[in-house]
Subunit: 114 residues, 2 copies
C-alpha cells in the first residue's frame, strides 16, 4: 500500500513535523540518531553495533556514541550477547517505544492537516 505524495505535500509534511518536533522536544536528536532509533524499533531484532553501522553506512564508533546518548536518555538499552560475548544486543525500551509512538502521532496529525 504505497503512499502517493505531491512534491508540495512531501516537503510540507517534513516541514510541519520538523517544526513541531523542534518546538516540542528539546532533545533534538540528529538525523543519524533518529535513523538508528527507527531502525531498532521498526526492523526485527537482533540489532548489533556492527549491523547498524553497516546498514547506515557509518563507522562503528558513530553507533556506539549514539547508543551512549540514547541509552542515557532511556530510549534504548544494551545487553551483552551470552551466546557470543563479543556482541552487544541492542534492546528496545518502554520509553523508546513511547517516544516513537508520540512521534508517529505527530506525523499522522501533520499529514492530515496538509
Amino acid at each position: 500500500m504505497p503512499v502517493e505524495l505531491t512534491p508540495s505535500q512531501a516537503l510540507g509534511l517534513w516541514h510541519a513535523v520538523s517544526l513541531e518536533q523542534v518546538r516540542v522536544d528539546s532533545r533534538d536528536l540528529t538525523l543519524r540518531q533518529m535513523a538508528i532509533l527507527l531502525e531498532i524499533y521498526l526492523v526485527p531484532p537482533p540489532h548489533t553495533v556492527r549491523g547498524l553501522a553497516a546498514k547506515l553506512g557509518v563507522t562503528k564508533p558513530v553507533i556506539t556514541r549514539a547508543l551512549d546518548t540514547m541509552g542515557a536518555a532511556g530510549l534504548v538499552d544494551r545487553v551483552r550477547d551470552e551466546r557470543d560475548r563479543r556482541n552487544v544486543v541492542i534492546k528496545r525500551t518502554v520509553e523508546g517505544a513511547l517516544y516513537l509512538e508520540k512521534f508517529g502521532d505527530l506525523i499522522i496529525n501533520q499529514g492530515r492537516k496538509l
Copy 2:
C-alpha cells in the same frame, strides 16, 4: 487534501527517508537546521532572524549559527534590509532549492515503496 497515514506508514516513511538521507548526504543537518531551511523555502518571504526564532521557539543565536552553517554550504543567503538596516533578510539560493527538490523526491520515492 489531507494525507492519511497509518502509524506503521508514518514511522516507516520517516525511517526510510532518514536512512536514505544518512547514506546519501554526509552533511547531516540537525533537525533544527532542517526546520529552518524548510521554513525559508516553503513559507512566503520575507524571513528574518527574529521571525524564525519566534516561529521555531528558539533563541536568536541559534538562528544566526544555523544561517552561518547553511550559508557556508550555499543553501541560504543573507542580505541587509535597506529599509530598516537593523534587519537581515534571508534569501533563498538556487543550490538550496535544488537541495530541497532532491530531498522532496526522496520522500516521494520512499513513500511509494511503503
